[in-house]
Amino acid sequence: MNQRFIYSDKADLYLKGKLSGNERIDFEEKMQKDPLLQSEIKLQRDVYHALGEARKAGLKARLNQIPVDQSPWFAGAPFKIAAVVSAFVATSVVMYVTFTPSEEDVVYQVNLDEQGQQIYAESSAKINAPKPSTIAAIAEKSEMAVVQEPDESTFTASNDPVAQTEVRKIPTIQRPNVTADFSENDVQLDYSDFEVPQKQALQGSASMDSEVAIEKVVDKAYPFHYQFYNGKLFLHGDFQDAPYKIIALNTENGRTLFLEYAGYYYRIEEQEAISPLTSITDTSLVKELRRLSTAQ
């Protein structure tokens, strides 16, 4: 058994690879000549290696004690947060699609502000507007379920989302308030406060009166006059240059005649005296007469 032991700092430095080039060459030459040194270095190399392995094992044992997250990437906190958010969004979409009322179930609320402008908003707590087909069926059954007189300022039915309020000027028709259990006997029409706008009266009873007989009279004494005699209208003057037209309006107070000639309008009183034709200066009346004339 060889108990000889060679120990030197130089051997340590050699095994650590910290000898310089020349020192290393000298040391290796010495090893070649000395088998005991060679055997010793071989032993020391094993010891170094074993010490290194022991140290590694110690470090690994330490690292193995450290709790680490070995779950896959999709189990990490960021993914969990993303998954929760995605689930919430998906649920919201499903809820929205499931519970959002369809267009048929849209409900309406009409508010008028002080300036007379219509403000419309849809609300689930207000009037239920039935399907158009339902309205037609009920109206057919009861002829008229609800009478709402249209006004000059008109109505707007909005299909915008609930709680959106906006001012609209586009006239449209308001849907009537009807219920599913509506019956014909329930209809009670109250026209006591009903007022027909003047425009409606004009529109409903105006006509081009071709029954009024007209005769033109060349009369230099009355160049632009008229006379109503024995149900016949006499026009004094030269009316050859432009066409003329008689417009008759039937109102509560009786018939009123107007003459349209050369773009002007003249009121014709049914009187026997020869009277001058005086053009109407009321612009609104002229405008309405012109509308009636072109509509006929």
């Binding site: 058994m1 060889n2 108990q3 032991f5 120990y7 340590d12 650590k16 055997s39 032993l43 020391q44 094993d46 010891v47 170094y48 290696h49 074993a50 010490l51 290194g52 392995e53 022991a54 140290r55 590694k56 110690g58 470090l59 690994k60 330490r62 690292l63 193995n64 450290i66 709790p67 680490v68 997250d69 070995q70 990437w73 990490g76």
Partner: protein, 179 residues
């Protein structure tokens, strides 16, 4: 914790900094191995080996980082895993018997030395490991283990090493590894 702080702490031999580093990049590094045909256990082993390489270089002041720590460790992981794959490939194709024979003798020697190391006291083991494996300076060892100075550590190291060598020689003679 910034890379510079981690590196500074590790270069002083602060093993807690190594713990934090291990925890920080565990998933990233192991997933890289697993995606390259490695098992969970293989990935863990490779990552730990890579961290020890990093530790050894940092503590011995041999490391000059030119990239992020994660990039450096990642490259070590891939290199180690490539070597491991080569080794496994060779084992499946070459002369298994001779390799096993060599491994058996080497393993026997290693086992004897390991038993001898275990017979040393805890301080002796640490001094020798810090000096021979971590390549720490005597001054750093003295600070880490609370010795008065580097000279004290040098003396202690000499005695510990002499005792270990004697233990190994005795056990080697019994096993006929020495003439």
């Amino acid at each position: 914790m910034k890379d510079s702080v981690i590196l500074e702490r590790i270069s002083r031999g602060d093993e807690k900094a190594l713990d934090e580093l291990y925890r920080k990049y565990y998933r990233m590094m192991t997933q890289a191995i697993i995606k390259n045909s490695g098992t969970e256990q293989e990935a863990k082993d490779i990552y730990q080996d890579a961290l020890i390489v990093f530790w050894q270089k940092a503590v011995s002041q041999q490391l000059v980082l030119t990239s992020k720590i994660s990039t450096y460790i990642y490259s070590i992981c891939l290199n180690l895993w490539r070597k491991e794959l080569d080794r496994k490939s060779r084992l499946s194709h070459e002369e298994k018997d001779s390799i096993e024979y060599i491994d058996n003798e080497s393993q026997e020697r290693s086992k004897i030395i390991h038993q001898c190391i275990q017979q040393l006291g805890d301080t002796c083991q640490k001094i020798l490991m810090f000096y021979y494996f971590d390549d720490m300076s005597l001054q750093d060892i003295s600070q880490k283990l609370g010795f008065a100075n580097a000279e004290t550590v040098k003396t202690k190291k000499y005695k510990c090493k002499k005792r270990l060598d004697n233990l190994v020689k005795t056990n080697y003679s019994a096993s006929d590894f020495l003439d």
